[in-house]
Amino acid sequence: MAVKRISNENDMKLCVVMVGLPARGKSYISQKIVRYLSWLSIGCKCFNVGNYRRVLGVDKPKYGFFDFDNMASYHVREAALEMAFKDITEWFDGNSDSDNIDNTGHSNGSLTHSVAILDATNSTRERRDWILQRCHEHGIQPMFLESWCDDPETIAANIKDIATTSPDYEGQDECSASQDFKKRIENYKSVYSSLNTADDKSLTFVKLINISHEIVINRIETYLQSRIVFYVMNIRIRPKCIWLSRHGESIYNVEQKIGGDSSLSERGLKYAAKLRELINENVENNERLSVWTSTLCRTQQTAQYLPYEKLEWKALDELDAGVCDGMTYEEIEDVYPEDFKARDDDKYEYRYRGGESYRDVVIRLEPVIMELERQENVLIITHQAVLRCIYAYFMNVPKEESPWVSIPLHTLIKLEPRAYGTKVTLIKANIPAVSTYKEKGTSHVGESTDAEGAHNMLVNAPEMTQ
């Protein structure tokens, strides 16, 4: 029976070792884990061996490079793995210098470094034994995470995605890139040995088979491991889009009051009508769209003309402003000057009297985020603070910045989470609305630098393109 271990939160070092053929969503899953754990304030960073190989000078290899009989290239890939592992150990020890490598994930000083993800195929038992040995030497718990898939449709979608977005194929046409990539996969197939419950029964591992149709979970020993497994079993590795929108301009927005449950203004109603057009023009397969709103009437009014399945989530309700609900920022500054300042100083942690903080919102969003990962074609219509939290999750915005992200009214936001970053597209409805953005240190509302569309949102998005 598995030895259930109790973590000592101070010296927890977990390395998630990805396993699987190329085009099985490994990088995508790695990125998702980084985002999810960072969002929960757990220090996490992904180390992609391909990036190290590129640093070693092999930046656009042909498939022959991945021939396992080619000893010269084998040594390069081995060296890349060693570099990655060295950086992992240094990162855990807190003297990481690995930011010169293009690794995503914030080396945020305030977070303890708890989870490293080694993103590579790790397809042979020999390679995995080497990693086990090194983890053992450095007091790191290894957890293997395999994505196994033989569904041709999913693989084809992933190949297409990699051929068009991977730095290995930059500048190549999609067709020849795909051809080459398929041959690369064949090279890996010849040596691949999948994790199984006979040979690997003593390892901590998770194996996802065909997008979680079947999941094998072996010897989970700590809470943190279980938390990661809980998350990945909700991930779907097929490329998809998420659509986000704030509700239309509300009466309270116009009156510069926060919270409340007011109706839409006339311009807000116009946006609601326009939203149907925007969806028709921009969302493929929109007949299968599912629209999620909060339980507040301004989000439901915004969704009223949308002829799709609708779900109301209490968890999508706006951040509860407690005693300040229904006040303007000027009134808050006037009545609760200390609170006003405290909130500006630490907006993520500040909890309104009788209300909530951004952290509280993040916690209650857990079921929404998990469902969102499982679904395709979802449009979420919700509120400024809640959207900031959801946006921070998809874009890996650190918690110091996420409460300050500007999310304009009357704009449809398209997110495309991919293996190498999330792409954001803003689709403006061109219906005027007030700005509800409040900068630090003032009770005035509105973006001072806002010429058409130059919002902080774009500035704050750390991984817009790649």
Binding site: M1, A2, I217, N218, R219, Y223, E312, M327, R353, P367
Partner: protein, 513 residues
């Protein structure tokens, strides 16, 4: 692949709109409604409430519930029937009770239906699925009982606003499982089978030991009970059809108490993944959880972070002795029992492990001590450390932040914050004083710790503030959110929670200085 799981879930999650009070919570209302006056808390010394029926009051709120909904169901997860599958002695009852406890804490209306209870109510024959059922009258009896349980579970969904029903029976035949799937699909419930397989001899033996202590074997000789129960296992082994993908059902296989979990076709959504998350952390508990307050310091105030005074040190010493004596006592009882068991199981091949070495020395490895980070709390564990027992500071054990009412008596609060005090007394679990945490905040931030406690196999002592102990105890004894703030933990008592498949048991042991 499209996912239509959400389509059949009830759409309404809206709350009852309440009157708006001045400017406060001007929108619909709070995230939870105020607790009903119709509910009165049970006495804090009452036992494990996990088998109490789901409280059928619309505005009932569970301690770990993040928000309340009008429909009473959570996470757009719809209705779920969990069917346990497995031979006798595979911890099915324990699993059903544990899932009930956790999901109820999260605010889900869950109820376990134990087939053994139904048979007991209708017959004096204690051995369900004994040879009796190979006769015509036996089969009829079995069908009748199963019909009764099925009806009750249907009623629970249809009339009792139930969201999860757990069916605790063998369910080892394919035809029976197919029938359940068909019946409950009709009423819009998703059916998830959880098959428990135990192959480790020590687990199996422990389960048999527990089983023969149950009511089934009241007034039986130990020897006969073991023989009978092992026969139950072997006779059912012949009938057992393992779950396989051919059945086209959604299932989870749970091997050797979570050593391995296999999920097949369980694309059910958040709630089911949350249950698997819980199962990953659940362990076969052999030890107990002990709760204690910290010793006294000079001013004993929240604002100071003082070390212990002399009285506090004496208390710590005494606490250490009481805990270690108690653990030794339990072990020697267990040893006697194991020896007795082995004596009685001679002609079967089950053998209890006597766990302990022969001498009476205390193994420091078998106990862990967790304390909050404050000096006097950590200091209370000093004599444990001296004995080589692992003592860990856990930041999650930090007491409820009292905010502006720190170190005030109830009377002082009433005098200084009359309005706030009034609101607090109406909902002590959710109310926050200025800059304070509520019990609910505390429960939410302690959830990871609760799961780690579920994880724990050996004995553990938790030394913490009363507010923290209330929340932890509240989970393990299935207290309601009305009861949690009223629970009492005094310095004169060590509170022990021991685990049993069917319910948890509290023992209060005096610490006399």
């Amino acid at each position: 692949m499209t996912n239509t799981n959400l389509a059949d879930a009830p759409v309404l999650e809206r709350q009852t709109a309440r009157d708006t009070k001045e400017n406060y919570m001007a929108r619909t209302s709070k995230r939870w409604v105020e607790p009903s006056a119709r509910l009165s808390p049970r006495h804090s010394n009452s036992g494990d409430a996990v088998h109490e029926p789901v409280i059928d009051v619309e505005d009932f709120i569970s301690p770990g519930q993040l928000y309340s909904t009008e429909s009473g169901s959570m996470f757009h997860a719809g209705r779920i029937l969990i069917v346990l599958v497995g031979l006798p002695a595979t911890s099915k009852t324990l699993l059903s009770v544990a899932i009930t406890r956790y999901t109820r804490w999260l605010g889900v209306r869950t109820e376990s239906f134990h087939l053994s209870k139904y048979t007991k109510a209708h017959t004096s024959i204690p051995t369900f699925l004994s040879d009796e059922f190979h006769t015509v009258s036996g089969a009829e009896f079995k069908n009748e009982i199963i019909k009764k349980v099925t009806n009750d579970m249907t009623k629970f969904f249809e009339e009792g606003k139930g969201q999860i029903a757990i069916y605790d029976a063998l369910n080892i035949r394919k035809d029976g499982r197919a029938a359940l799937q068909a019946t409950f699909k009709k009423i819009g419930a998703k059916v998830l089978f959880v098959e428990s397989i135990v192959t480790l001899p020590e687990l199996l033996t422990r389960n048999i030991e527990l089983a023969i202590q149950s009511d089934d074997y009241e007034n039986w000789g130990k020897h006969e009970a073991i023989k009978d129960y092992t026969k139950r296992i072997t006779s059912n082994e012949a009938l057992y059809e393992r779950m396989s993908p051919i059945e086209n059902l959604s299932y989870i296989i749970y091997y050797n108490f979570g050593d391995r979990i296999i999920m097949n076709n369980t694309n059910f959504g958040y709630l089911v993944s949350k249950i698997v998350f819980f199962l990953m952390n659940l362990s076969d508990k052999q030890g107990c959880i002990y709760f204690s307050r910290c010793g006294r310091s000079n001013s004993d105030k929240y604002i100071d972070d003082e070390v212990l005074n002399e009285e506090g040190i004496a208390y710590s010493k005494k606490l250490t002795d009481v805990v270690i004596d108690r653990i030794k006592q339990r072990r020697s009882e267990r040893k006697t029992k194991a020896a007795e068991f082995n004596q009685n199981s001679k002609d079967t091949d089950v053998r209890a492990d006597s766990y302990e070495t022969n001498d009476d020395s205390f193994d420091p490895q078998s106990l862990a001590v967790w304390t909050a980070e404050r000096k006097r709390t950590y200091d209370t564990a000093r004599f444990f450390k001296e004995q080589g027992i692992e003592v860990q500071k856990r930041s999650q054990l930090k007491q409820l932040h009292p905010g502006v009412v720190a170190d005030m008596t109830n009377d002082q609060i009433k005098e200084n914050f009359p309005k706030e005090y009034d609101e607090y007394t109406r909902d002590p679990y959710h109310y926050r004083f200025t800059r304070a945490e509520s019990y609910h905040d505390l429960a939410v931030r302690m959830e990871p710790l609760l799961l780690e406690l579920e994880h724990m196999q050996k004995d553990i002592l938790i030394i913490a503030h009363e507010s923290t102990l209330r929340v932890l105890y509240g989970y393990f004894m299935a207290c309601t959110s009305l009861e949690v703030p009223m629970l009492e933990f005094t310095r004169g008592q060590l509170v022990e929670i021991s685990f049993n498949p069917f319910n948890n048991i509290v023992t209060r042991i005096p610490i006399k200085l």
